[in-house]
Amino acid sequence: MHSLRVEGLSKHFGGVNALRNVSFSVETGEHLAVIGPNGAGKSTLFNVIGGHLPADNGRVLLFGQDITHIPPYKRSHLGIARSFQVAALFLELTVLDNIMLALHGNLRSRFDMYRPMASYKNINDKAHQLLDSMGLWIKRDELVEELSYGEQRRLEISIALSGEPKLLLLDEPSAGLTIAESEDIRNRINSLGSDITIMLVAHDMDLVFGFAKRIIVLHYGEIITEGTCDEIRHDLKVKEIYMGSEMGNTLC
């Protein structure tokens, strides 16, 4: 069963074709990575799947249902969650409030205007569990803007995980982290259950090769090639795209 299917997706900004006729599908529970040089259209692809940008052409199907034209919040209700490349958190709220909001997002209680949020016992427990697993429970009453960058990234991932998503989109989860921190993130991502489908965009090749079963290579908005880690590692076209860059060396 396909969890996500993208058919002939195109998106352009003025004269720039960010996505050109992109088609692929992701099996349920599959771990897929999307790589490509800067400006290849990776983030645009995520924004179109997440609903933040309208597609010019093509369709996005989630479990067979056409979601091309529905707003982001409804896609969240259907089970899509995502993390953002630049940590997109609520800086002036506490860590606990951040995670509690994420937990309420797909529940009816998000419209509750009377009962204090702190009084939701079961949601508080879930928040405790999530923050504990990321080592953030002791920081729960601090404002997010006071956290270190690594802690913010961990919170970003806990938020993405909080709604028990069926499809998780991770956009550069280890960007800007120290080596130790990105290794930590890598371990956490690899330990996620195999019941959720995960799509990952990253420049961190250790993360990509350690994580993905299948890799899609984007270049100027087009899929150049796709295959297993070994196939991609030895693909000539991919080498050509990355030639001279730091990543070219890692690949060779």
Binding site: Y73, S76, A81, L91, R110, R115
Partner: protein, 333 residues
């Protein structure tokens, strides 16, 4: 000696657990006892402060919590005020139970109509659209003379009739009446800002896109809070028309909207009680400066604003809270 220590320890524990309770108690006591000790004219000014406290707090739902800067908030205040005034002065409907709900409902409906259009714009555009709607209501109040009395104003709006045969409202009982409505309004609004809905509003202020990806229909949240804010501005407007002897268009125009915005900013928009502090400061300053230097009142107000923005970032209330905490900790020690 030991007895005293026990008391102090209990107090310490209590304070640690319920930090705000003592403050609420003191505030309530002041609210009840104040009119008994001050001159009648001062009591009337305090009544006005209470009304503006509701008004400013309702605006803070938009400015402080949701990050929507509305420059036409006096429109909903005015619509409710004029509805109340017209029903009482022209149609002789005196019952509070008919007049007040009508006023508040009109304000909420107006906010529902205006908000629907204004929320299509963001940032400066939103501000300009709300400003335009505010001026629209102002022009109606100015030009529709047969109903509103134009610049001559609407007079003969008395105190509300609660329908109790043995009770007629006077200035003192009206003070207590306003106090009760203030307490109810603040209770509801405080619950609102602490609820999932209220925290969601603050998160929308911080990062709207992220809220959408978490499953929140952010437009609906903004629309609902716009109506709620209009509704509570309507509560204040209705009380205001009972309170003031005359209702004139300038009380619903841009000047009134900026004045209430200043209350929010000077008092502090990140604190629930901030706008109330702002209302206290501004209305007292307005009163005394118009008493002693009547022509320079805007100048003094301007100075207050500049000083707050330059030296008291975040509003007076943040510094008051710091001061209060220090005093409390000194007392306990």
């Amino acid at each position: 000696m030991r007895f005293v220590k026990t008391i102090i320890n209990t107090a310490k524990l209590y304070m640690a657990k319920q930090q705000n309770r003592p403050a609420y108690f003191v505030a309530g006591l002041v609210l009840v006892l104040l009119p008994l000790f001050v001159a009648p004219y001062l009591r009337d000014i305090i009544t006005k402060i209470l009304i503006y406290a509701i008004f400013a707090t309702s605006l803070n739902l938009l400015c402080g919590y949701t990050g929507l800067f509305s420059l036409g908030h006096a429109a909903y205040f005015g619509v409710a005020g004029y509805t109340t005034g017209v029903l009482m002065a022209h149609y002789g409907v005196e019952s509070f139970w008919i007049v007040a709900p009508a006023g508040v409902l009109m304000a909420a409906l107006m906010a529902a109509a205006f908000g629907f259009v204004a929320l299509r714009g963001v940032g400066t555009y939103f501000l300009l659209i709300t400003l335009a709607f505010g001026q629209l209501i102002y022009s109606v109040a100015l030009k529709w003379r047969t109903v509103t009395g134009g610049t001559n104003g609407l007079v003969n709006v008395g105190y509300p009739d609660l329908g109790l045969p043995w009770f007629t409202m006077n200035a003192l009982s009206f003070y207590y009446f306003v106090s009760v409505i203030l307490v109810i309004s603040f209770f509801l609004l405080y619950r609102l800002v602490k609820s999932p809905f209220g925290v969601a509003l603050q998160a929308i202020r911080e990062n709207e896109t992220r809220m959408q990806s978490l499953g929140y229909n952010t437009w609906l949240y903004k629309y609902i809070i716009f109506i709620v804010a209009g509704l509570f501005a309507g509560v204040a407007g209705t009380l205001f028309s009972y309170h003031s002897t005359i209702l004139v268009p300038s009380q619903v125009g841009i000047l009134a909207s900026t004045l209430v915005m200043l209350m929010v900013i000077i008092g502090g928009k990140r604190v629930f009680w901030g706008p109330t502090i702002g209302a206290i400061v501004i209305i007292f300053v307005e009163h005394y400066s118009s008493l002693y230097v009547p022509t320079h009142w805007p100048l003094i107000l301007g100075c207050f604003f500049v000083v707050t923005v330059m030296f008291l970032r975040g509003g007076i209330s943040i510094y008051l809270i710091k001061l209060l905490k220090r005093v409390v900790s000194l007392c306990i020690r």
